[in-house]
Symmetry: C3
Subunit: 205 residues, 3 copies
């Protein structure tokens, strides 16, 4: 089940990357790169930081093709994307949870400390979007909008906790997805956000 959700997730992430590339008037190569990086960049950063070589997508080249095709397909259906907004947000929420759980699993198998396991989940969940924003030359949106990373953190802690307690794996997955997707959609609907920190002194560097 996780694999299917993962495929849906990388498709949705690739499409979100392609739309951002379109806002920067990139050419189709740029669209393909941003789609690929948005979808698979989080897992790549995780694998590099954990020393988990070979990196996941190098062993599954069809993931590369899926993300590139999804990115290019987005160009064709861009004018209809507004109608798909709600579906898209649900897929994106599913993706965040799937990425987080997969990231935790990878670090767990490598025997890392629980803190690193939780961070690996969050890195997988959010770094794709951070890289997309860096390549599109803007401050990463994940650092200042509705709760996104916070939900990844919560799901990672929940998942690690249930696994440690020895709960049945399928039940753990169902709980993690239910809680995570529900919270994410609530956060979007009611515009939940974390308190922000504004600092204006110009004296510092």
């Amino acid at each position: 089940m996780l694999t299917y959700i993962y495929l849906i997730a990388i498709t949705a992430e690739a499409m979100s990357g392609a739309l951002m590339a379109g806002r920067r008037n990139m050419d189709i190569f740029g669209v393909a790169v941003i789609a690929f990086v948005t979808a698979l960049g989080g897992g790549t950063v995780r694998d590099v930081l954990l020393g988990n070589f070979p990196i996941s997508w190098t062993q599954h080249p069809h993931y590369v093709y899926i993300t590139i095709c999804a990115g290019l397909f987005t160009i064709l259906i861009a004018k209809h994307m507004n109608h798909l907004r709600r579906l898209f947000l649900v897929l994106d929420a599913l993706g965040l949870i799937a990425f987080t759980i997969i990231g935790c699993n990878v670090a767990m198998k490598l025997g890392y400390h629980p803190t690193v396991i939780i961070m690996a989940g969050m890195i997988t969940g959010i770094c794709g979007g951070v890289l997309r924003d860096l390549l599109c030359n803007r401050t990463p949106v994940v650092f200042s909008k509705e709760i996104y990373a916070g939900i990844s953190l919560l799901v990672a802690v929940l998942y690690l906790g249930l696994e440690t307690l020895g709960i049945d794996h399928d039940i753990t997955l169902i709980v993690a997805f239910s809680v995570g997707v529900t919270l994410r959609l609530c956060a979007i609907y009611w515009k939940w956000s974390l308190p922000t920190f504004s600092y204006t002194s110009e004296e510092w560097d």
Copy 2:
């Protein structure tokens, strides 16, 4: 032969990086860093992603000195660079092809899938320029200007194809360089570019 072209290529890339650093009014340390990153960053990203440690330039420190010296030398001759523009574009084109072929070779020796081999060639060819643009705080030019990455892709596919067919290595190199450099110069001269994707809805993130 490939080694000599590689040395010319990193020199040309380092100089292009130094000019960009000059546009941002960086100090000489910044110029040296951007020169180094532009020239050797592509190979570094490739080695990290392929898990190919130790990274190439750590075993060839003279590459580091060449790029830093080329960067600093550029400061001295900056006012004459416009006269050298054509020579420079040819060297840059040679560099793109050399980087691509070297990148393919590295991934091939490590036994990666053909898709990853081609991507390794492209990453080596274009990531130096992408890192340069990130450090100079602008949207990477490779995603929106004349065909650059597309030529790297074509050369990578061509090279991999000829190698797989068992063509003599020297002939393969000559063909790859001839086709690649010719196409790149044509792309600059006639301003060939890929179709772009523009998307303006503000509703999305």
Copy 3:
């Protein structure tokens, strides 16, 4: 002794990252990430480039907590930070030297070439700030302000030289810190900076 200075250094770096995040109006998650990246990003880049896995902070999770707590604590005391400016600059200078020496040590133990050892020291010293600036969408300040990287370079060369000469380790540390911190504070006080390179032709890419 180096360990204590290191802990002070990552705290000071995390706080400087948090202030920058505050200038971008980030939420508390963004502040925590920028604090973490500013403090531990330099060592992370060094470990990845040297192939030094597992990465240092994954084996010392309390470093992660220290940087995140320091970042969040900065939000509380932000309005008093101006009064602490001088203390802060001294801590930052101590941090630069500590990071540089630790980076040299890591590369030395792995048997790298002296050039790479010196670069590893500088990467540890400055890459945290570069990543902070990238994530905050601005041109890295280290490339264009008072001498910072230059002092890291000097300390790395000095440290490597004294170690090679077989000087007692404690004396080497004391000399490196004295020279480095003094020079850094002089550079701030008298606004020492490297010559800059300005290039304005728009013809190039």
